[in-house]
């Protein structure tokens, strides 16, 4: 490799032997092999470094929160300050409601935006939207909290589950938009053509053929973004705010797991610390289950 450049010929190799170049090549080859091993080891270590935090977090949460994860914790409301016991049932349900609101608002907008990106002919407009979505994906989540606070919370004059769900949906929209466009591009153009040649309208081709073919990937994208926002705390701090009692009303402050964990973790009470660990374990388990569901979903027959 390093000695390449001219075609090997008998004279050339004789010359090479004579000049001692062969020994140099052998030495270089040994060095190369050692380097090869070294980088293999390095990449192995890097992979371990990627995987181990997840394992460590799981083990750590299980050891510190596992014992507090009781039936009461999953089904009871928080007890008043000073009393031990109680649980986070309202926060678990609240998180589910908030994520559901975020999906209801974010998924249609994100998917339709993805369809627009896929369908629109003007490349500059597409590039502009794609760039905007990528920038939005990088906006710190607390910014979304502030935006919703000033747009919704100040106008409604109350923190609310609706505001919390809206803040989460703002995080979801650019994520869903990009994944939707990507999976739509994977649909073979032959299906589109077949539909158009049958005399279907463009809207029918998109709805009944392109979207139908890509639906698995789209659902995957939506769930992935839902799993991502389920653990968000910052955008909920001054939107959903948190609540220590049950609410199913969207115009009232709503409890959420990340918020409850945050409140409990910074409190001075050991019993609350214990519950914060259990809450973190539940949150991680929820996200893990969502990812697992995704796996099962996308493993189905390939399309």
């Amino acid at each position: 490799m390093s000695a390449s450049g001219s075609a090997p010929s008998p004279e050339w190799s004789r010359e090479r032997r004579a000049s001692g170049e062969e020994r140099a090549t052998a030495r270089r080859f040994r060095v190369r092999k050692i380097l090869d091993r070294f980088f293999q080891l390095l990449s192995l270590l890097a992979s371990v470094a990627v995987i181990s935090p997840l394992l460590l977090v799981f083990v750590f949460l299980l050891s510190s929160g596992g014992s507090s994860l009781t039936w009461d914790f999953l089904t009871q409301l928080p007890k008043p300050v000073g009393e031990t016991g109680g649980g986070m049932a309202n926060a678990i349900v609240g998180s589910c409601i908030l994520v559901a609101i975020a999906i209801v608002i974010g998924a249609p907008i994100g998917v339709l935006g993805g369809v627009f990106l896929y369908e629109h002919k003007e490349p500059r407009l597409r590039a502009a939207i794609r760039f905007t979505a990528d920038v939005l994906n990088g906006v710190p989540s607390i910014i979304w909290g502030i935006v919703v606070y000033s747009w919704v919370v100040l106008r409604m004059k109350t923190f609310s589950g609706l505001a919390g769900g809206l803040a989460l949906s703002f995080i979801m929209i650019p994520l869903i938009l990009r994944t939707t466009e990507d999976v739509l591009r994977l649909v073979p153009p032959a299906y589109r053509e077949a539909g158009l040649a049958l005399g279907l309208r463009r809207s029918q081709v998109i709805l009944h053929i392109v979207l139908a073919t890509a639906r698995r990937g789209i659902v995957t994208g939506v769930l992935l973004s839902a799993a991502r926002v389920a653990g968000e705390t910052a955008p909920l701090l001054f939107t959903a705010f948190g609540n220590r009692v049950w609410t199913a009303r969207l115009q009232e402050p709503m409890a959420a797991l990340p918020l409850q964990i945050f409140t409990y973790a910074i409190s001075p009470y050991p019993d609350w610390h214990r519950q914060a660990w259990a809450g973190a374990l539940v949150l991680l388990a929820l996200v893990f289950l969502m990812n697992l569901a995704l796996r099962l979903l996308s493993r189905g027959k390939p399309e």
């Binding site: 002919k121 073979p188 032959a190 299906y191 053509e193 077949a194 539909g195 158009l196 040649a197 049958l198 005399g199 279907l200 309208r201 029918q204 009944h208 053929i209 139908a212 073919t213 639906r215 399309e303």
Partner: protein, 273 residues
Amino acid sequence: MTGSAADPKRTALAGGALPQKSQPAFQIEDLHVWFGNRAVLHGVSLEIPARHVTGIIGPSGCGKSTFLRALNRMHEFTPGVRVQGKVRLFGEDIYEPRVDPILLRRRVGMVFQKSNPFPTMSIQENVLVGLRLAGIRNRGLLEERLEEALRMAALWNEVRDRLHAPGTELSGGQQQRLCIARALAVHPEVLLMDEPCSALDPIATAQIESLIRDLREHYSIVLVTHNLQEAGRTADFTAFFLEGKLIEFESTKKLFTNPSRKQTEDYLTGRFE
């Protein structure tokens, strides 16, 4: 395309009169097509007879697929394509502004090189999708059309017991016949076929070719193929295209045995490509 169901030409299979065999299906006058600045077809004029199979042959890149796509305005989805000239379908200019390309494509069905049944749909749904999305809800009519289209595509006996199975479960040749059934179910007048057998094995090819010969009883068929034997076996008339120009258009027998142009003879005897 104001031609309604009452129009005798439209209802070939619904009990109406078929077009006369002597009548032209397509009359193409001085058709030019450009991709951006590159001319792909230079002034093609041709009459495609009704209820016959017209083969289009020529080397790769001679414009035969482009020609086909100009007949149902499918080229309109390719950016930068421009068309000039006249194309009449049973006398009606298909490029007139009042013509809705959607309705045109219901009259001019198309079958592609690679079979492409919709992967999310069953065999039955694949056949009926054109009708369903055109707003037909009548179950009796749908069932009737389902069987009719599958029978015409010589697929009924093979799939009658598994109409709800996914279309993609069928073999390659069956999938292509399913695509033909899908195109036939909306009762087109013309069928455009873009190398329908080029991805199939010899047995499936033979089945599709015999199917094409049967279909010409009812349909006017334009068959693009790069397989000369296929044109020889299935087409009644054959047009030879070269570098975007129509070189010769004759009855298949005459073109293959006694071509009047030297370029045709060279192509047929394999002296280029």
